[in-house]
Symmetry: C2
Subunit: 338 residues, 2 copies
DNA sequence: TTGTAAGCGTTATCAT
DNA sequence: ATGATAACGCTTACAA
């Protein structure tokens, strides 16, 4: 930067003023500076900037499983919003550490990250997320912590779950089972609640519906399907409500190996509507969540928070509740023998 | 840090020595320092460190399409290796900018990134990658630039392609067509070469095999399948060799809508063996690339380069050529009417 | 073994 | 409108 100043025959402060237009500069000198920048191929040292500004223009993205297209899409949305602001997105996998959150908290405290977007699909305890939130701004996606209003971007899981369950039941199923998400997750809870509402509305007893708790990963869908379908054909469930597509896919994988035909022998539904949902066999009936948009919105929310940090607390915009809409496809049919 | 020093009754340099053990410190004082750190909950300011050390402990990961599980797995591998070193991984989507590489080059020059791992699936021109490489260390994954030995992690695409094509032909197909990757990519070229070798070995003329050039995205698989299958049933291809799974999936999507049965009417194969490949309908015959391992190896290569930057140039380890192994599944059958 | 002090490349406050 | 200059928080000669 000193070089640029010398080359342009001005002082470093003038250069700084030009680069950030943070001060009045005569247009002739401004031109000279810009020129020098080009000639010398000067690039500002961001580390120095960060130090001085006490901010890093980068945010963390905690994502449990990139292989899950739902998360991948959210990540794309976040990245897009960040890129528009020249902000870097740091990928944070919640490792197999004991207390992964403390790692991320350190990143916030150590000024490596200005804020964090948290996809809590793996089912982190609320307490650890709150711990993280104490270290800096955090926005939740597809999750919410009751009682603490952390900013969060969610879709109407409960309604989506209710509708898809209602649809399954309307096809005539009486013996359904649920593969739920991690029980510590609010969203998982909401979906469960939605399922139960529909079940009750169909004059069945929700408490008699078997519920297996998974972790949103494909493998657990496989395992829990195996478990739930262990009984004899005339008493086991004829429909499986899975709290996300990834587990539904796992369940389908199991059925394939177990020679259970879908939907003739068993109906299966998911949640999320990931891109491949309609391409697996058979096409998965599910509930669409607008993942990319949600990621984009989450980043927007976080930036709003970061901007507001300096100024007096302006109006905090309420994030929209995204719609979760039913996608009826081929993986559901009336129960066998009906 | 000054606070810590004061609290421990030592000088700041002593604190620094302790924190990086970069100097001899009496164990009694070391303990006092560590203690003060804990009491004051001191976290070093990484921006300041970065400035001083002229390095950022973060690397860029350029990934064209997170929705493609192959890339997602590589990303996971990279992230894992990076986490082991306390290095941050910055997600870089090659935006719809004119010259995206210049953005990333800036990140390197501006000291926001120590190096870059480049997944060139989108088909960036070699020239722009080389431009990037001038700005800092770059490691390629699933790609290579002939004539310039940038460090690269690749699998044996050519052999994999040859084997899968040979398998398809051994089922009796005589009219095959190819959906290739971006023609600027070396890997795409290798696969094409592998296909052609097998075709020639089957006493067919490789030059008569239709080749459509895609961009490795699902959508282009869809579109090109439509194109290649336009002719009358008795003259159109009976098998489609797709240069990656994502495009194969797109092709399958098209066939589904066009009511073409796979594999009865048409055989399709892919490349990569992404996790869902065996779950789509029908299970996709493909060539496995060990994506996660490749990502991990790429990060290792990059770190090796970064470490070597300081010292005299030690032996540069040659990265292994990963195996690409055939996965035979249900999407291939003998041609119709045989 | 420990402390002092000089930067690292910016930004921002102050005089001018 | 412009230019010195003092931070920002850390590392690392060099001195003690």
């Amino acid at each position: 930067m000193k070089d640029v100043a010398r080359h342009a025959g001005v002082s470093v402060s003038t250069v700084s003023y030009v680069l950030n237009d943070s001060g009045p500069v005569a247009s002739s000198r401004r031109a000279r500076v810009l020129d020098a920048v080009r000639v010398l191929e000067y690039t500002p040292n961001e580390s120095a900037r960060n130090l001085k500004r006490r901010t890093t223009s980068s945010i963390g993205l905690v994502v449990p499983d990139l292989t899950n297209q739902f998360f991948a899409l959210i990540a794309e949305g976040v990245e897009r919003a960040a890129a528009e602001r020249g902000v870097l997105v740091v990928l944070c996998a919640p490792e197999a550490t004991d207390r992964p959150e403390s790692i991320h908290a350190r990143l916030l405290q150590g000024q490596r990250l200005d804020g964090v977007i948290y996809l809590s699909g793996a089912g982190a305890a609320a307490s650890s997320i709150l711990e993280l939130a104490k270290a800096g701004p955090v926005v939740l996606v597809d999750e919410r912590i009751p009682g603490f209003d952390l900013p969060a971007v969610v879709a109407d899981s409960r309604r989506g779950a209710r509708e898809i369950a209602a649809y399954v039941l309307s096809e005539g199923h009486r013996r359904v089972a649920i593969i739920g998400g991690p029980s510590v997750l609010w969203t998982a809870d909401q979906r469960l609640a939605g399922y139960r509402e529909a079940i009750a509305a169909a004059s069945l007893d929700p408490d008699e519906v078997p519920v297996a708790v998974g972790d949103y990963r494909q493998e657990s869908g496989y395992r829990l399907a195996e478990e739930l379908l262990a009984g004899p054909a005339d008493s086991r469930p004829t429909a499986l409500l899975c709290a996300n597509d990834q587990m539904a896919i796992g369940a389908i994988e199991y059925c394939r190996e177990a020679k259970l035909r879908i939907p003739q022998d068993l109906s299966i539904v998911g949640f999320d509507d990931v891109p491949i949902a309609r391409l697996i066999a058979p096409a998965l009936t599910t509930v669409r969540q607008p993942a990319r948009e949600m990621g984009y919105a989450a980043a927007g929310l976080l930036f709003g928070q970061l901007d507001r940090a300096g100024e007096g607390d302006a109006a905090k915009p309420e994030p929209p509740l995204f719609a979760a809409s039913l996608r009826i496809r081929e993986s559901v049919a009336p129960p066998p023998g009906s």
